[in-house]
Symmetry: C2
Subunit: 172 residues, 2 copies
DNA sequence: CCGTCTATTCAGAAAATTCTGAACAACCAG
DNA sequence: CTGGTTGTTCAGAATTTTCTGAATAGACGG
């Protein structure tokens, strides 16, 4: 892959990272590893992306924690090297699972707690909050099912995507 | 609803807002409107939440743009008043639709562009990127279907949530 | 033990995001 | 037109997030 194309990919993946709740530096490192066959050391990464050793080190720690990057030892090399996990599906599941636990579940719990301590005096407001809770509960169940069985979910997604030829993304 | 409970809800909804890509002030205003039967004016909102008129005005503008808050005119009142849309499902669809368009679609396009300009020289990397693109395309189709027919999707979510009694959120 | 090489940490710097409040605009009544 | 009321905007302040680089720690060979 030529350097310009690679760096274009690195930057666009960096922007998308935000959508996954991953910051720009982390996503750029991830992209670089995805686009590189050989394991890379800290040195190569900082040089290629123009970031500090400290930042790269912390990002790699987080990326490993998310389970999307792996540290490998090269024989004859004292340094650590890193490669991207190459199954994007498993990456998606890991990230979705962790974000659900960290962000979604606590919010549902908070809403349920509020409902538990809310009286019956205001029907309109109570109904609104109950509808909200019902929706979050539905999403929760969907996520649970989806995340509980990676193989099945993967198949379902592939099936859906295969059904109709891919068209431009105007379907809103 | 008593003031403490309400403010607890306002704050927890504020935290959750981040997950939807909505900032804290916006989510707090939204929560306050959700938890209030009567339409509120700018004045009441700024006073209750302790924020500036300017910020509240901008947040309300954005909330209306997201389609989750509506401006109403009260007879005999010169000021503008605001109420929350009370269908959370439609709120979910509006937000999901807009975020897909704003964040997801451009990233997919960028990846496709990179693939289009990438040669065949590196099989491993090319295959990684193709897998990634396949996954994003699958998600794209799923989102298109889900967002294309609000009624059907709503029914599906409700069905899933009704199937099994709700248990604690430990299913990871 | 020392010197070298590398990874990690974290206080403070830099950057990005969010918020404020004063200025302005729009409207209305008198 | 004037004075009063309310909504909006936006430059800069405040806050939050991210990044840097120097300090530190660990590991290894000699």
């Amino acid at each position: 892959m030529d350097p310009d194309t690679r760096s274009e990919f690195v930057e666009s993946w960096g922007s998308m990272g935000v959508m996954w709740g991953i910051n720009r530096s982390m996503a750029r490192i991830h992209a670089l590893l995805l686009a590189t066959r050989e394991p890379l050391g800290l040195e190569e990464i900082t040089e290629e992306l123009g970031m500090s050793r400290g930042n790269a080190s912390m990002c790699l720690k987080d990326l490993r924690h998310w389970g999307v990057v792996r540290r490998v030892n090269l024989t004859g090399e004292r340094r650590d090297f890193y490669i991207a996990e190459d199954d994007p599906w498993s990456m998606l599941f890991r990230i979705a699972t962790q974000r659900k636990k960290r962000e979604f579940d606590p919010a549902v719990t908070a809403l349920q707690k509020v409902l538990a301590t809310t009286g019956e005096e205001d029907d309109l407001v109570r109904e609104r909050l109950e509808d909200l809770e019902e929706m979050l509960r539905a999403m929760d169940r969907l996520l649970q099912r989806f995340l509980a069985n990676e193989g099945a979910s993967r198949g379902m997604l592939k099936f859906l995507s295969a059904q109709v030829p891919y068209r431009s993304k105007k379907g809103e």
